[in-house]
């Protein structure tokens, strides 16, 4: 199973993401944002957290227009998998691959702590490693994680079982406590919490492992 981790100027969770994917058994290649294409045979593209292009204009807005993001959009349109965490989630909404937008936290402050999450659906390759309703502890670290969707889109996401994770104690004002959301074909996941920071007991917990193990396992056997 082959994964590519995109690196923008200002990405700072790219290496953590690579470590998490490798630990789950993926063959990982780092891809610089100016590269126009993805490595051959990539199954999963991971867009990591950080502050791509200094969050200028809007978080993820400039990154979403970079050459490599056009390649990511093509990859997804061909049925490829993509995972966006934190800034990566912001980038994926800016490309239009995921619905909604991420706004300034309702409490204005940067929120950096481990938060309780609930697995809202196990019906995706990203969440198959968990049970529906399972409680997780995963860190968040963001200033603009307030997920906004209009009422009609929110209803649609619920009806289509596309809400992957919800917050136990909403830290940022997100609509419907949504912490992570799936694309229509369930092959793109965007989430604000950082599962790649929760794969090692020495770093505070291993609740993120289920995501990487489940995902890499599904793609290996595919």
């Amino acid at each position: 199973m082959k994964a590519a981790v995109i690196v923008f100027p200002g990405s700072n969770c790219d290496r953590d993401m690579a470590v998490a994917l490798r630990a789950a058994g993926a063959d990982v290649e780092m891809v610089w944002h100016k590269d126009a294409g993805l490595p051959r045979g990539v199954d999963l593209v991971a867009v990591p957290g950080g502050f791509s292009f200094g969050d200028y204009l809007r978080c993820g807005a400039i990154a979403a227009q970079s050459p490599v993001c056009r390649a990511v959009i093509d990859h997804v349109h061909k049925g490829g998998y993509a995972l966006g965490v934190c800034n990566g989630f912001q980038v994926l909404t800016e490309t239009g691959l995921l619905p909604g937008a991420l706004m300034r936290n309702a409490g204005i402050r940067f929120v950096c702590k481990t938060v309780p999450l609930t697995v809202a659906t196990a019906e995706s390759d990203f969440t198959r490693g968990y049970a529906k309703g399972e409680a997780l502890q995963i860190p968040v670290a963001h200033h603009d994680g307030n997920y906004f969707v209009d009422a009609a889109t929110h209803e649609r996401l619920r009806a289509e079982d596309r809400i992957a994770f919800t917050y136990g104690d909403n830290p940022n004002g997100s609509t419907g406590d949504i912490a992570g959301v799936l694309s229509e074909n369930r092959r793109v996941l965007g989430m604000m919490p950082h599962p790649e920071r929760a794969i090692d007991a020495g770093h505070g917990g291993t609740d993120g492992r289920g995501l990487f193990d489940g995902l890499v396992g599904a793609l290996v056997s595919a």
Binding site: A61, A101, M103, R104, I108
Partner: protein, 79 residues
Amino acid sequence: MKARVQVMLKTGVLDPQGEAIRHALGALGFDGVEGVRQGKVIEIDLAETDPEAAEAQLSEMCEKLLANTVIESYKIDLS
């Protein structure tokens, strides 16, 4: 020609920064501030001299990059 693009959160989208400013104004003793919305202004110098063509270009810029139309609206002023 010069253009000024104003990007604001859409009506109905809660603006946490605007709310923080409203609270701060209240704390400074400015009573009666009923609402504050914060947006951005982007000034653009264009080589284009035809206003209609410039307006079309600017609309495309707003749709593609300058505004996120999921949450923001924009207004273009040419001078």
